[in-house]
């Protein structure tokens, strides 16, 4: 029993990271129909930037706070220079190629700056070691990650539903052209969400760093998982991303427990089933 409970918590922590990553993807897709394939790269950049900030400032919290801005700065430059020329209908292929190329640029850039060596980030003193939960002990840092996921989810829900910016985002997502005529500067909203999404991914990257290692290849690996989450949640839907991330994480973690070799296959099967029977997303009403 305690094995299953602790695995459940592990899955939850993993889901929180997936959530942060998938959120930005879904946000950008929802608002501008832009599929940002460089998202995994920004996630990885967040982790590496966090590593360097931690090394020089010796403060984990500052690293978590500042690392997303490094990635956002890169995203802003990319958006200004190239991305914005390719918004809109009929440009999907251009965007996909562009962001895919950007993913490679980021990956090579990281290799150039930090080298090919595998790096790790230490959790802050406070969150090291395990906590005794009665039935079993569990790594403290992972409990922290679960809390971070919940805080972001609640915060985003409040932002979307109760703020002016949230209204604009929803308007731009619902119908860009009509929103435009109503005075919403869709392109600006899009640029904003693109950069904000990157910030979330980079935040995920630096939060995940003490759980994972920083190494070449993590970017595409995590991108694929995030894409699966987005597909299961329903393309562009924000409210359901959290549950989709949790579901994917549970399938993967428990899959690995019972049938290690088929765990990834199970995740893809889940996605295929959702695509076949509920193409608008697993948690959305059929009519939506």
């Amino acid at each position: 029993m305690s094995l299953y409970l602790s695995q459940f918590l592990h899955a939850w922590a993993y889901a929180s990271i997936l959530y942060l990553l998938a959120l930005g993807l879904s946000l950008t897709f929802g608002v501008g129909r832009v599929l940002n394939l460089a998202h995994g790269g920004f996630y990885m950049l967040g982790g590496y930037a966090g590593y360097s900030i931690l090394r020089s400032l010796d403060n984990f919290w500052l690293a978590v706070l500042l690392a997303p801005f490094v990635a956002m700065a890169v995203a802003l430059v990319a958006e200004r220079l190239v991305m914005r020329r390719f918004y809109g209908h009929g440009m999907e292929m251009h965007q996909i190629l562009l962001t895919f190329g950007l993913a490679f640029v980021i990956s090579d850039g990281i290799r150039e700056v930090w080298g090919a060596r595998i790096l790790t980030v230490q959790a802050p003193e406070l969150l090291r070691g395990t906590a005794d939960l009665g039935l079993f002990t569990f790594p403290r840092y992972r409990l922290f990650v679960i809390v971070v996921g919940i805080v972001v989810a609640v915060g985003l829900w409040a932002l979307i539903n109760y703020t002016d910016a949230g209204v604009k985002i929803r308007a731009a997502a619902a119908d860009g052209e009509i929103a435009e005529t109503l005075g919403v500067h869709t392109r600006r909203v899009l640029a904003m969400t693109f950069v904000a999404g990157v910030g979330l991914a980079a935040f995920g990257g630096v939060v995940a760093a003490p759980m994972q290692a920083l190494a070449q290849g993590v970017d595409f690996q995590m991108l694929i998982m995030a894409l699966i989450v987005v597909v299961i949640a329903g393309l562009g839907k924000l409210e359901t991303v959290y549950w989709a991330a949790l579901l994917v994480a549970l399938v993967e973690i428990f899959g690995r427990l019972f049938v290690p070799r088929a765990a990834i296959f199970l995740v893809f099967t889940l996605m295929a089933l959702v695509l076949a029977f509920r193409p608008t997303g697993l948690f959305t009403p059929r009519s939506a």
């Binding site: 759980m211 993590v218 973690i253 428990f254």
Partner: protein
Amino acid sequence: MKLRKLAAVGLSAALLLTACGGEDDGAAPAGEPEGTAEGEGGEAAEATGDPLRVGVVIMTSGVYAQLGEDIIDGMELYLGTVGNQAGDRPIELLIEDETADTGTALERTRRLVEAEEVDILTGLISTGSAYAVADFVEQSQIPFVVSNAGGDDLARGERSEFIVRTSFSNWQNNYAVGEWYYDNVGETVALIASDYAAGQEHMRGFRESFEAAGGQVVDEVYTPLGSTDFSSAIGRLGASGADGVYGFLAGTDGLIFVQEYDQSGLKEDLPLVASGFMVEEDVLAEIGEAALGVRSGLHWAYDLDNPENQEFVQMWEEEYGRAPSVYSVQGWDTARVIVEAVEALGGDVSDGAAAVDAMLQVEFDSPRGPFRIDPETHNVVHHVYLREVVDMDGEVHNTMLEDLGEFADPGA
């Protein structure tokens, strides 16, 4: 659905990018001959013959990029000591990225032979690419010195007259540890390994001697290569009721696993014994204190007590400012085998079979201890050491606990 288009575009873009990627790392000359150098190369004056072109197919990108870098640095370090020449010919290294794709590895090997007309080939990190390249090497009759890929079949079913291996066979290093584990850790074990050919071969080698000694494997977990989370696997190991854990996970897999294993608090009750790559020097500094106490078997240890190793470690750290790894040693030994064989032939390597024969004769004291190549299997014969991760003046390194003796792959 968009996804199909996306996949197609993604794939073609990836192909395009990998195709372009290879162009810029073509020729990388090993530098000018440096005149005289100490040791065996003492008489090395100006090399005047045609350059000896050595093609190196090795991973310089991807998850195992660091391994490739260490091997190349190790080769260059050795070549520096002999004035970058052998048999009166200056040595040129032509480096190509092996990549994770076996097809690419084969294509680049081909290019080195057909377009660059190299005299000798070396490299290969992955067992998969070694198997893929074997046939071509046989046809082209260019000697190939494998400097990492440990696939057992290279000394067995896929054995080639023109392939010599200076690194290890997967069986060799793990077979050595099985009996030690039974005598020193316990009668039952839970195994964990990456789910690919090398992982399975490592476990098979261990099982063979462990079960022969009377031990029992109570559970085994195979995880996908490139995993980022091992909590499920660790959950299973913890529930297995074994006396200890034995495993093989390399690169990031090993790093993340050892850290998570430490965090799980299992280490006290369930000691971790590993195939040495899991806690080798290339990842050890990053794993840090989480690795303390992990014991492993490998053909080299940081503080291995022989003069060749002490000199090697010192020279390496002065040159590169970081600790060497077993891969550095493999690079060093590979370069030495090539240089000494070419010397023995007076610089004439036009006959591939003769060059291989000369390599089989090479014997010397390596940083890993006595080094020779089995003329039957063409695989290195070396000692395997049982090591433990300890704190050495504030840095974590592998210290040698016990010399398990000399091991050669049985070849069948």
